[in-house]
């Protein structure tokens, strides 16, 4: 058993870590997810050898990642949740009383130059990390699960309305951050 763990850690550890890091965007949480996955794999004898070890481990990892994301979304300060319910007032920064843009969105395009693209992605990355953890988490989940909104809500135990309000707020935050740090910068 010990040998198995060592082999898996060496052969698949980096892969599993990157997979988790791309979804959790936090090295410590990604490492925890890999450890939880290997721990679950020794407690669970369902590996039949029909699929590759990597495929099997990745399937376990996906569940571990969702567990961590669910915790992150639920363990938020109460003030955040109250704020979320008052979704109409929280958008005051962007619109006036009659619903017009206070500041009109600016043109935002992917640069053609490869080096500039890299810079753009780095800035977007830091903008995602600046969002409240809850909003960043659901925003990244949405990217992974594409339009499978129903499943995200089921996994997280939140309503569809709650999910789209959070996604809307995440996007408003991201575009503002990009306008400030990319266009203006």
């Amino acid at each position: 058993m010990n040998e198995n763990i060592n082999v898996w850690l060496n052969e698949h550890g980096d892969y599993l870590y990157r997979f988790a890091l791309a979804r959790l965007r936090d090295p410590q949480l990604a490492e925890d997810a890999v450890q939880e996955t290997l721990l679950a794999s020794i407690n669970n004898n369902s590996f039949s050898g029909e699929s590759s070890a990597r495929t099997w481990l990745t399937a376990i990892l996906k569940h571990k990642i969702i567990d961590i994301q669910r915790k992150r979304i639920r363990e938020q300060p109460l003030s955040d949740l109250i704020d979320l319910d008052a979704s109409d007032t929280s958008m005051d920064d962007f619109f006036d009383k009659s619903g017009h843009w206070l500041e009109k969105p600016q043109a935002l395009d992917m640069p053609e130059d490869i080096l500039k693209q890299k810079q753009f992605l780095t800035i977007l990355s830091s903008c995602i990390d600046k969002l409240p953890a809850k909003l960043a988490t659901i925003f990244v989940m949405r990217d992974v699960h594409e339009s499978d909104n129903e499943n995200i809500c089921k996994e997280l135990g939140i309503t569809a309305t709650n999910a789209w309000v959070m996604l809307y707020r995440a996007r408003m935050g991201l575009r503002k951050c990009l306008e400030m740090n990319w266009i203006a910068g």
Partner: protein
Amino acid sequence: MKFMLNCKQASQLISQSLENPLSSSKRIKLKFHLLLCAACTRFRQQLRLINNATKRIRLETENDDTLQLPLESKTRIFQQISSHIESKNH
């Protein structure tokens, strides 16, 4: 919702439409608003760009061979799991 959307309502529908198809009445109202409103059209473009770029960030992280689980983390994980197995065997 009245036929003429304001920009706040339009921006909400634009965001929603990225998750689920809108009902046909909402879709028509939004289309009409976008015909007349350059600001919301730019907003939609911004959201599409953010979606595409976010996917790229994720895929690049997944495929970045230079990102590795640090050796000390591997050692730590190995020790933790070994001690877990031992405690189960006793």
